[in-house]
């Protein structure tokens, strides 16, 4: 297998992708994108920029009108969603669009049963996922009894349970408070360190600034920029074009530029370091 490594290092390859919805709206117009194995990517842009449409191509929910999408070497047009889903776990924005079981345990086993795992494996995986997301005590409770944040964690656990190589999270921070976001961030980073390829679809710039992934900016069905977070998110023209906002720290450093501060800072701790050194000298 190692001989093919050169090919398979690219986990996702999107080539000249066009997609038009049945109602005639062209949602993607010529997207080219490569995501490497184990990479952490954030796809950003305004609502309606085509972010969700793009990721729905990655697990085969949508098939290209033109162009192609390769996931771990497989052309998405050739296989069913159910087969691709084993590699690609897509966590939807609203957990209420998927929860239906009587207990949290059954909710998490749903996908595992669909994929045909045996009972012993299902038991193991469910236990692992419950533990991973700190849901152990809700095992026998109805998911509908849980709070919004907990329901979101159950939805995430129900996808992680089958251990997909690629995990896509659609707007994971919507409706979450600061602590929940912080826990989510640490969890995502942990998954990424375990070698998972992570794709986050979001317009939450502060969250992204804290995660520091590669940024893909989208606008009207096209990718307009791709690069390191501290490069892309500090570029005012790009950020404006994609109708998202500069992170607070980037705004600060833009304003401090005339005093000779660097421009590409988005992290508050790094910012504190830089400013501290400068102000200490002043003192």
């Amino acid at each position: 297998m190692s001989g093919y490594k050169g090919v398979f290092e690219q986990m996702i390859i999107v080539e000249n992708l066009y997609f038009t919805y049945p109602n005639g709206v062209e949602a993607l117009s010529g997207v080219n994108l490569r995501i490497e194995d184990g990479e952490f990517v954030a796809i950003m842009g305004q609502n309606g920029a085509g972010k969700t449409t793009l990721v729905k191509h990655m697990n085969g929910l949508l098939k290209p009108t033109r162009g192609r999408v390769l996931v771990d070497g497989i052309d998405t047009r050739r296989v069913s969603v159910a087969r691709l889903a084993r590699k690609v776990g897509l966590v939807f924005q609203n957990p209420d669009h998927q929860l239906f079981s009587e207990t949290v345990e059954e909710e998490i086993s749903f996908a595992l049963r669909n994929f045909g795992y045996d009972e012993k494996t299902i038991k193991e995986r469910v236990g692992w996922a419950l533990n991973m997301l700190n849901l152990e005590r809700y095992r026998k409770i109805s998911p509908f009894m849980l709070s919004g944040g907990e329901r979101k964690r159950v939805a995430l656990a129900s996808v992680l349970a089958w251990d997909p190589k690629i995990i896509i999270l659609d707007e994971p921070t919507i409706g979450q408070d600061y602590m929940q976001k912080e826990k989510l961030r640490q969890f995502i980073l942990q998954l990424n360190q375990q070698g998972k390829t992570i794709i986050v679809v979001t317009h939450d710039v502060e969250f992204v600034a804290e995660c520091n992934p590669r940024i893909i900016l989208m606008k009207q069905g096209k990718i307009i920029a791709s690069g390191k977070a501290e490069e892309v998110l500090t570029n005012e023209d790009l950020v404006k074009e994609a109708s998202i906002a500069l992170p607070e720290i980037a705004k600060l450093f833009k304003c401090l530029e005339e005093y000779g501060f660097p421009r590409n800072v988005i992290d508050v701790y790094e910012a504190a370091d830089i400013i501290y050194k400068r102000l200490r000298d002043q003192k």
Binding site: L61, A85, G89, F92, Q98, A111, N114
Partner: protein
């Protein structure tokens, strides 16, 4: 475009769209009655033809065609069933008269579909609700009606998202035998229902917050007034009804074949 588009309101401006729903309703009722009154082909054919100019005036030809195509299957079934039953049970009739009667029944069905299609294509649910309200139906019911119509596209979209979310978890809706397939819909129906309930609670909260039920004589932003065109349509409908009653009692209607031969 699906068959339903042949009955779904299309927001354009035309003299037919501007008619009062009540006038249109009277027209549809009259048409309905008259169509049931006759089982000869000629009057039914006339009824069918009368409505064509209305379709064109309302600029809904394409949608109307859609409803016609959609009902074609049923029309053929009606024709076949009539033909067979008349053939086997009404022994003393000639084949041409059997054929003609079956055809008449089919046209009757088409006329009914056509009149419904025109009514719903050209009447916005909003004005329909208003017409119901002004006809003395309790406001709560009218409100429930318009709100239900309003949320149809939202629910359809939500159902699609739920299907996608479950497919992403390996659900294959189209797999398995009949019972299995029905079971496959449970993971879709439950979230849909739960969300609908949650949504209705939120809607109720919003309505309460906007002074729902504050006074008995609630105003309505819009009022329907019967205009000249509406009167003309009502007059025409009544005329049609009178003539039809007269004809059905006093005039012998020849069969189409006897005229042609």
């Amino acid at each position: 475009m699906s068959v339903f588009d042949g009955f779904k309101f299309r927001s354009i401006s035309s003299p037919i769209h501007q008619l009062d729903p009540r006038a249109k309703f009277i027209y549809v009722c009259v048409l309905f009655t008259v169509a049931v009154m006759f089982n000869n082909i000629i009057p039914l054919l006339i009824l069918f033809l009368i409505q064509l100019p209305i379709v064109f005036m309302a600029k809904v030809q394409r949608e109307w065609m859609r409803s016609m195509k959609g009902s074609a299957v049923f029309a053929i079934m009606i024709f076949a069933v009539n033909l067979l039953s008349l053939y086997f049970y009404a022994g003393h009739e000639t084949f041409t008269s059997i054929l003609e009667r079956s055809l008449a029944m089919t046209i009757r069905f088409i006329v009914l579909v056509q009149s419904f299609s025109i009514f719903f294509l050209t009447t916005s649910p909003d004005t329909l609700g208003l017409a119901l309200e002004q006809s003395g139906i309790p406001y709560e019911l009218c409100f429930a009606f318009t709100t239900a119509v309003r949320f149809v596209p939202v629910l359809a979209e939500e159902a699609q998202t739920i299907i996608d979310a479950q497919k992403a978890r390996g659900l294959e809706i189209e797999s398995g035998n009949f019972l299995r397939r029905i079971r496959n819909y449970i993971p879709i129906l439950i979230p849909l229902i739960v969300n609908a309930i949650r949504r209705s609670l939120e809607l109720a909260e919003t309505m309460e917050s906007r002074a729902w039920g504050a006074c008995k004589n609630r105003t309505n932003l819009y009022v329907l007034k019967i205009k000249t065109n509406d009167l003309l349509l009502i007059l025409f409908s009544l005329l049609l009804l009178t003539v039809s009653i007269y004809v059905s009692i006093n005039v012998y209607i020849p069969s189409l074949t006897s005229l042609l031969i």
